[in-house]
């Protein structure tokens, strides 16, 4: 006991300088917030690029003199150049997938929540965690620098298919911009790998006493399995990126085929295989989709149970389906390549594995619905965004079943139908879950409440605008409108679709504008919001037993112990409608304060964990 108390004092007693406390911190909570803030900055940037894309697609060829004076390179005279348009499309995708959703969900929420929800003081290796974050800003700087080099930023799409990405002469953005894109991504991959090592080790090693794997909140299951996916998938992209860098800078031709002619000039590379890049890329790329959606699935499960005041339906099936989705995600990469040239039998195999993923996904969806069944739902902002997630995920999931079948996909490949599909199922769904998570965990992050009124405005503008933006895209895609096309006015069969494109763009502008309500709410609440209590939502998981915000070391003198699963909502006969995970069995729950008993524990164990935590 004495050792543990002394240790806790060491944790909280001495004051760190501003730089050590907020900038070069090894505290998982600070690192999580650093990830979140950097991701928010990138999200605004990625959204802005999408606005450029929509501006061009709704009014192709129109001159915008004000924008022209702001961006003389990309919009000379106010008219967007094809190179700037393609760079916007590419960088929007790259930023949103790698620099916003991956970093926000695993880096932001993962770092903040994992130690708190499993009852640990910090990550297993806090210093490595800090390194993981500090690789992220350099990657951002390298990526943003690519806008200012000759030829502009990369324009070959976020998938960077060669030969467009392998040969500097292939397109304006294939020059220095593409090289910087690759370097930036390689740095970020290393950051993800270091982070994943920490998340997996922490969840396996540092769970508090009593926190068995099947008592973990589903948020942790989502983040844990995601870390495993990252650990296995990103190294493959790293290997591919190294080979592509050699092609670009060392003169090799891993991905450049023989006999290629760019413009009228024959290329002096020979003997490579561009399909190999697609295989390696999608071997990462498909698990990456689940890196973006598994943490949201976990987070919304917890928020849903909390606001429905009911236990999550089918906990074990929820866990099993997360694991099943993760496993299957390594067997389906070929469904991105049906039209790249593939033996039909292989296409059938990939179709089968792809459609099997619908089973665990549907299990999750029906379990969420069953959790809502006859519940007394609290419509908080977090809950609204959770319900939004469900709707968007189902909409996107259904089109996924269509696209997973080669006979359908051959017609819809590379059309706006695909754009609509993945924006619903991973873009919107993941970002809505991130909003839900922010509204839900904000009191724990900053010790203050966000404005529910602004939160509801945010939701009721974002949700219809999301459908207004992306639902008509299905129709445009079925009519044959290609994704990444510079101007729909170029083709006669697309000119009739122009009203749809204008509607989509107006929806997109509303969607983008609505996010500023969130930003205002976020920053105002962080400084001026009403003080949050320890457990404002009446939640069961461990983080709500720590002060808001939790101090360095999280738990004071004693680590919590865990006596039950994370979903003890509305238990019959209890004084309150929830029992915290740390509440001992057989002890009546004290009514009134809504916090349950103070987490207790055993001194020796506390010391043991702290040692692990200090590294």
């Amino acid at each position: 006991m004495d050792a543990a108390t002394a240790h806790a004092e060491a944790h909280t007693g001495h004051e760190l300088s501003f730089w050590r406390k907020y900038i070069f911190s090894t505290d998982h909570k600070i690192i999580g917030l650093q990830y979140a803030f950097t991701s928010m900055f990138m999200a605004v940037l990625g959204g802005l690029l999408a606005m450029f894309v929509r501006l061009q697609l709704a009014w192709p060829g129109r001159a915008w003199p004000i924008l022209g004076s702001l961006l003389p390179g990309g919009m000379p005279g106010g008219e967007m150049t094809p190179a700037f348009y393609l760079a916007s499309v590419t960088m929007h995708g790259t930023i949103m997938i790698f620099f916003v959703l991956t970093t926000l969900l695993t880096g932001g929420f993962g770092n903040f929540l994992i130690p708190l929800q499993i009852g640990a003081r910090d990550m297993a290796f806090p210093f490595l965690n800090a390194i993981s974050y500090w690789l992220y800003p350099p990657a951002v700087i390298v990526l943003l620098a690519s806008f200012f080099v000759a030829g502009g930023a990369a324009g070959g799409g976020w998938t960077a298919y060669p030969p467009l990405s392998a040969l500097p002469q292939a397109a304006p953005g294939s020059g220095m911009g593409q090289t910087l894109w690759l370097i930036s991504l390689a740095i970020l991959i290393v950051a993800f790998l270091l982070g994943s090592l920490n998340y997996i080790t922490t969840v396996l090693q540092l769970r508090a006493r009593g926190m068995s794997m099947l008592r973990l909140p589903l948020t942790i299951w989502g983040l844990f399995v995601t870390a495993v996916l990252s650990l296995l998938a990103f190294p493959v992209l790293l290997a591919a990126a190294i080979m592509l860098l050699f092609d670009r800078m060392g003169g090799t031709s891993f991905f450049v085929p023989a006999g290629l002619i760019v413009g009228t000039v024959p290329v002096d590379h020979a003997g490579g295989n561009p399909l190999l890049w697609q295989h390696l890329f999608w071997f990462l790329g498909h698990p990456e989709v689940y890196v973006l959606i598994l943490p949201p699935m976990g987070m919304v499960s917890d928020i849903l149970a909390n606001n429905a005041r009911k236990p999550i339906f089918g906990y074990r099936f929820m866990v099993a389906s997360i694991v099943a989705i993760a496993f299957l995600s390594f067997l389906v990469w070929g469904h991105h390549m049906y039209t790249s040239g593939m033996h039909p039998l292989l296409g059938t195999a990939f179709m089968t594995t792809t459609l099997i993923i619908a089973v665990p996904s549907a299990i999750k969806t029906f379990n969420w619905l069953a959790t809502l069944w006859r519940a007394k739902i609290r419509f908080t902002s977090a809950m609204l965004f959770t319900l939004g997630f469900l709707s968007l995920f189902v909409t996107g999931g259904l089109t996924g079943i269509m696209l997973g079948q080669p006979p359908v996909d051959i017609y819809l490949q590379d059309t706006f139908f695909v754009v609509a599909h993945f924006h619903f199922v991973m873009g919107l769904a993941a970002i809505f879950a991130a909003f839900a998570g922010t509204y839900f965990w904000f009191p724990k992050m900053f010790g203050r409440m966000m404005s529910e009124r602004l939160g509801k405005w945010h939701f009721w503008l974002s949700f219809p605008a999301a459908y207004l933006t992306f639902f008509p895209m299905h129709y445009a895609g079925m009519m044959g409108m290609m994704r990444r096309i510079y101007s729909p006015a170029l083709y006669a069969h697309l000119q009739g679709l122009q009203p749809i494109n204008i509607v989509v763009s107006i929806g997109a502008f509303i969607l983008f504008a609505a996010q500023f309500i969130f930003l205002v709410n976020f920053f105002r609440s962080a400084f001026r919001g009403p003080k949050a209590e320890t457990n404002p939502w009446g939640a069961t998981t461990l983080e709500w037993q720590a002060p808001s915000p939790p101090p360095h070391g999280n738990w004071g003198a004693h680590l919590p112990t865990v006596h039950r699963w994370a979903y003890e909502y509305s238990p019959p006969g209890a004084a309150e409608d929830f029992i915290p995970q740390s509440h001992p069995a057989g002890v009546p729950v004290p009514a009134g304060d809504g916090q349950g008993p103070a987490p207790g524990g055993d001194g020796v164990q506390g010391d043991e964990h702290a040692r692990g935590g200090r590294g």
């Binding site: 499993i118 009852g119 297993a124 290796f125 790998l193 994943s196 090592l197 920490n198 997996i200 080790t201 396996l204 090693q205 540092l206 769970r207 508090a208 006493r209 009593g210 926190m211 068995s212 794997m213 008592r215 650990l231 296995l232 998938a233 990103f234 190294p235 493959v236 790293l238 290997a239 591919a240 190294i242 080979m243 050699f246 060392g250 003169g251 090799t252 031709s253 891993f254 020979a270 003997g271 490579g272 295989n273 190999l276 295989h279 390696l280 071997f283 112990t561 865990v562 006596h563 001992p584 069995a585 057989g586 002890v587 008993p597 207790g600 524990g601 055993d602 164990q605 692990g612």
Partner: protein
């Protein structure tokens, strides 16, 4: 009130409160890192397989590499260095400082010998006309992928051996001053054995088959 109640929560293997695999976190983290690194090599080697299958004729490696005189012996040396590493780990568990230092030194020598022979191998390959980008001089029909995959894969592995040698030098210097534990040497050993194991695959796929 509940102290007696809470003491009933025991630390169990998977029940929280202790490591499910009964290992400290550095060792688990090294295992996970090696898993991820293995996938990087797997991607490079399956890429190599795809290149080779789609390149048409692939040259006979024995015409270009000195397998019996150089590559075979350097493979043997690397495997021997795994054996000396294992002795160092055993000595570290017993706390035998002199033996740890001596056998870490031998392992480092093995790694350096391997790197030296690889440098020799690269030099003679380059003298024959191999370049990263293809082939120079008179050797018709050698696909450019043949030297390119060779340099990238053996180079990537050589980078791993080099960082392993640096890692072991640091550990050996620490051990010489008495700052070592069975644990840290074992974690270093895991990395070293992994690098050896990967070489066995590279040796088989690039030189023998």
């Amino acid at each position: 009130m509940e102290v007696g109640e809470q003491r009933r929560v025991r630390a169990t293997a998977w029940g929280g409160g202790e490591s499910p695999f009964a290992v400290p976190w550095p060792k688990l983290m090294m295992w996970l890192f090696l898993l991820s690194d293995a996938l990087t090599f797997a991607a490079l080697l399956s890429g190599y397989g795809a290149m080779r299958l789609t390149s048409g004729a692939w040259p006979r490696q024995a015409d270009f590499f000195n397998i019996t005189a150089v590559v075979g012996p350097m493979t043997f040396i690397l495997i021997c260095s795994s054996a000396t590493m294992a002795v160092a780990v055993g000595a570290a568990r017993r706390g035998d400082r002199r033996l740890v230092t001596r056998f870490l030194g031998l392992t480092i020598l093995g790694g350096l010998a391997f790197l030296g022979m690889q440098a020799f191998e690269w030099t003679s390959f380059i003298r024959e006309g191999a370049r990263l980008t293809g082939w120079v001089g008179h050797a018709e029909g050698i696909p450019p992928m043949f030297p390119a995959t060779f340099f990238v894969i053996t180079g990537f592995h050589g980078g791993h051996v080099t960082s392993g040698v640096i890692y072991l030098i640091i550990k050996a210097l620490q051990a010489a001053r008495g700052r070592f534990s069975g644990e840290t040497i074992e974690v270093a050993g895991l990395y070293w054995h992994f690098v050896d194991l990967v070489w066995v695959f590279i040796f088989t796929l690039l030189y023998l088959i």
